[in-house]
Amino acid sequence: MKIHLKIWRQKDQKAKGKLESYSLNEVDAKMSFLEMLDMLNLQLAKKGERPVEFDHDCREGICGQCGVMINGIAHGPLKKTTTCQLHMRSFKNGDTIYVEPFKSKAFPIIRDLKVDRSSFDEIIAAGGYISVNTGQAPEANSIPITHEEAESAFNSAACIGCGACVATCKNASAALFTSAKITQFANLPQGKKESKQRTVNMVNRMEELDFGHCTNTEACQVECPQDISVLNIARMNYEYNKAKLTK
């Protein structure tokens, strides 16, 4: 099938970007979206033009490295699906597809569709862990964790850190990402001793990194490839308030 593309091209963070138009004539419906971009890049390279830079790695929906706005939606039209898992059968012959990078102040554009999401690493570094050195761990079964606790902790821990929540949020809030980690630990008995410190530090770091606030529109969960619940955000608020009020 024939596909028209309008892809955001931007040389570096400071340069002004704009949409460029491309057309591909022999797109197969069985191709993945990124394979379609591979095809475009091969054509560009052969013509001596600069290929489109985009982020991707595992191409099976778990590493969280891919992620672009496809027709104005993070990771494209399918729900619970990363960009790499989106296939061209979701489009029709003759479609025009707009491809833009995730945009927010905290995710500066590196080039074209590649953005810098290291601010997420910074949030984790601020406290997204249980402080246990190698060798300090007690016997695993000495901390019983109910099936429900483990499952709900897992639901939060499943976040892949792709940034679609920030890209989708009208305020570019990282609340879903941050709260998922806070909630995972809040649901587990391990690491309770440092839970106040963790919550306050992570929230403050999120604040320093120029993310917006959460207005509970719930759009982040809708576009989240892992369907991370917005109730995590409420949990974060609870944990934060608790930490502040019982200080």
Partner: protein, 640 residues
């Protein structure tokens, strides 16, 4: 004449070796540790856990990864689980049994002492992961759950739904980020190692390229750890991430580290088949599907009927027929080979006739759709997402795909390569899995190497480095390595041919998959070697890399990786050709029993082949590390 090399295995009884080692290992006192710098390349399970553990001890760590965040490393994609000897199920598990299973699973081509240590350290890993908050599956009582995996008769696999790798990696990643926050780890994301720098034959640093700016950087240290994973991506179509590569270990190899058993690649039987020439990777479907799915092909060759129209008596359930005892649960290497056999004789299914059916119709009739949906719902969804086919209504199509490199840098018992100060851990080394890896052992090995072994053995090495002054990055060795690295990049850019690295990669992958994949023969391997040499020649003349070297340039990154594959591919074929036996994943057609099973030759090939770089890709030098079996007598691996 091949030289013999030895692994410095400690004295003592098998079960005492590691404790003896630890008891005698040299130490570095806490106040001296901060003076010692260690470079860790790779932030997967092995790299992140080693970097975090060493930083916790007080060393100064520089951690490198090519991804935009350490959390993206491909350990993240492991689905099934991690093995550990806890015997929580009271089903007769023991360290010895786990060691024996692993050794046998590897077709008796790994070191007894290493394999035993892997089993011995496995229990503490679970403790560590639980303490980090990894949400492993739990019973309603609150205790840890286990499941059973291929090739063993006990339940020792711990898992976090189908995302065990992700959860373990996040645990290690978070530990790493904690050390970064403290300042013990300096993180270099979007950096790729281009070369290893040795001074006086000791590993002293690396040359790295900042992938965002194109800048070439020198980094010095007292020791270097490579935790850069496997190189199955050399087959182009594989279950690995797009960025997985062999460059770090290959460049270390060219600096003198030996490369062991490079041809031993695990081909995973349950992957989604290639759907067209554009395909960039093959997605793994958890092996657990084989618990309820039945594998078959049509009896008639080139049968183009839809699977639902093919009646029962025209189907060949070949695994059940050939391996009645294990049936559809035959080990990975055997299931993969059997599938290839069927595809090769023209019974393959699907539009490209490159797959076999994995059918749930019987299971759905027997247990009902709901039970199957509960067990495998997420996998069926994933299948539908990728193929657009509803597997509740028609059988899945699966095919084998390159998955795990049992081979890698040769390391001794300390996980140190033949270059002093250069360590290789996780999938990057060759040590524990022999010729075939058991399911759920790869996460284990990566973690055990990183959390427990490297921190101990590295310290043993570093104990005499305190007096050595900080590595100077203006040393001529750094200058020269940087010059060569830059020159190579310039050459790529200036080559101005008309074939991209990707196209070369596809070609070399195809050669390897066909001739050095599931089954190998002398004739085909020799052909492959010639083809690879020609392709390498062409690569030097006809490579096309758009853009330049002083900026972000994905095509240039690929060129570097493919350039290394061009050399490694030949070594893989040479290695496969040299080993005149069949063992594990290495199946030589000339060496099989009458009924088509692998025929191992313990008299002549009970060794690890450790190849040495001679300066020329086509003339590798063979070194042999003889394998001694003192505690287990190698037996025939039969799954009939």
């Amino acid at each position: 004449m091949a030289k013999e090399i030895h692994a410095n295995i400690p004295e003592g009884d098998l079960k005492d070796k590691w404790s003896n080692y630890k008891a005698q290992a040299k130490l570095v006192s806490p106040n001296n540790r901060k003076k010692l710098e260690i470079i860790v390349v790779g932030t997967g399970l092995a790299g992140a856990s080693a970097a975090a553990s060493l930083a916790e001890m007080g060393y100064k760590i520089k951690s490198f990864c090519f991804q935009d965040s350490p959390r993206r490393a491909h350990s993240v994609a492991a689905q099934g689980g991690v093995n550990a000897m806890k015997n929580y199920q009271n089903d007769g598990d023991s360290v010895y049994r786990m060691f024996h299973d692993t050794l046998k699973g590897g077709d008796f081509r790994s070191r007894e002492a290493n394999t035993y240590r892997l089993a011995e350290c496995s229990a503490s890993l679970i403790d560590q992961a639980v303490a980090q908050g990894v949400p492993f599956g739990r019973e309603y009582s609150g205790y840890l759950k286990n499941r059973s995996f291929g090739g063993v008769q006990v339940s020792r696999t711990f898992y976090a739904r189908g995302q065990t790798g992700q959860q373990l990696l996040l645990g290690a990643y978070q530990a790493l980020m904690r050390q970064k926050e403290i300042g013990s780890v300096k993180l270099y994301t979007r950096h790729e190692m281009l070369d290893l720098v040795t001074i006086d034959n000791k590993a002293k640093g690396i040359i790295a390229r900042n992938l965002d700016t194109g800048e070439i950087e020198r980094h010095g240290a007292h020791a270097v750890i490579l935790a850069t994973g496997g190189f199955g991506k050399i087959y182009y179509l594989s279950t690995l991430a797009m960025g997985c590569n062999a460059s770090a270990i290959w460049r270390a190899h060219k600096k003198g580290a030996l490369m062991a058993n490079p041809s031993w690649t695990q081909i995973h039987p349950t992957c989604l088949p290639q759907s067209g020439p554009y395909q960039s990777k093959l997605t793994l479907m958890s092996e657990s599907l084989r618990n309820d799915g039945r594998i078959w092909v049509p009896k008639a060759t080139n049968d183009k009927k839809s699977p639902i129209e093919i009646p029962e008596d025209e189907r060949d359930y070949y695994l059940e027929r050939k391996y009645p005892a294990f049936g559809n649960l035959a080990p990975r290497d055997i299931a993969s080979r059997a599938a290839k056999e069927q595809i090769d004789i023209g019974k393959g299914v699907g539009p490209l006739r490159n797959a076999v059916y994995l059918d749930f119709a019987h299971a759905i009739t027997e247990y009902g759709k709901d039970v199957i949906a509960e067990r495998y719902g997420n996998l069926f969804d994933m299948y539908q997402k990728i193929t657009g086919i509803n597997a509740y209504e028609e059988p899945m199509k699966i095919s084998p795909s390159a998955h795990f490199s049992m081979g890698g840098l040769w390391v001794d018992y300390d996980l140190m390569t033949t270059i002093p100060g250069l360590f290789a851990i996780g999938e990057a080394n060759f040590s524990d899995h022999g010729a075939n890896r058991l399911g759920a052992n790869s996460l284990l090995q990566a973690c055990v190497d990183g959390y427990y072994i490297a921190p101990c053995t590295l310290q043993n090495y570093l104990s005499d480095q305190i007096q050595v002054e900080k590595t100077q990055i203006n040393h001529p060795a750094f200058q020269e390595a940087e010059r060569l690295a830059k020159k190579q990049l310039e050459n790529f850019v200036e080559s101005k041919g008309n074939k991209t690295a990707e196209e070369f990669h596809r070609e070399i992958g195809k050669i390897l998959y066909d001739k050095c994949g599931l089954s190998r023969s002398e004739q085909e391997l020799k052909k492959a070697i010639l083809q690879i040499q020609n392709l390498r020649e062409e690569f030097q003349q006809n490579l096309l890399v758009p853009g330049d070297a002083h900026e972000i340039n994905s095509e240039l990154e690929k060129a570097g990786r493919v350039s290394d594959y061009m050399e490694l591919a030949e070594l893989m074929c040479v290695d496969a050709l040299e080993r005149n036996e069949s063992c594990g994943a290495h199946f030589r057609e000339e060496f099989q029993t009458e009924d088509g099973e692998a025929e191992r030759n313990d008299d002549d090939y009970a060794y690890s082949a450790a190849w040495e770089w001679s300066g020329k890709a086509s003339k590798p030098i063979l070194n042999k590390e003889p394998l001694h079996f003192t505690y287990v007598q190698p037996s025939k691996r039969s799954y009939k």
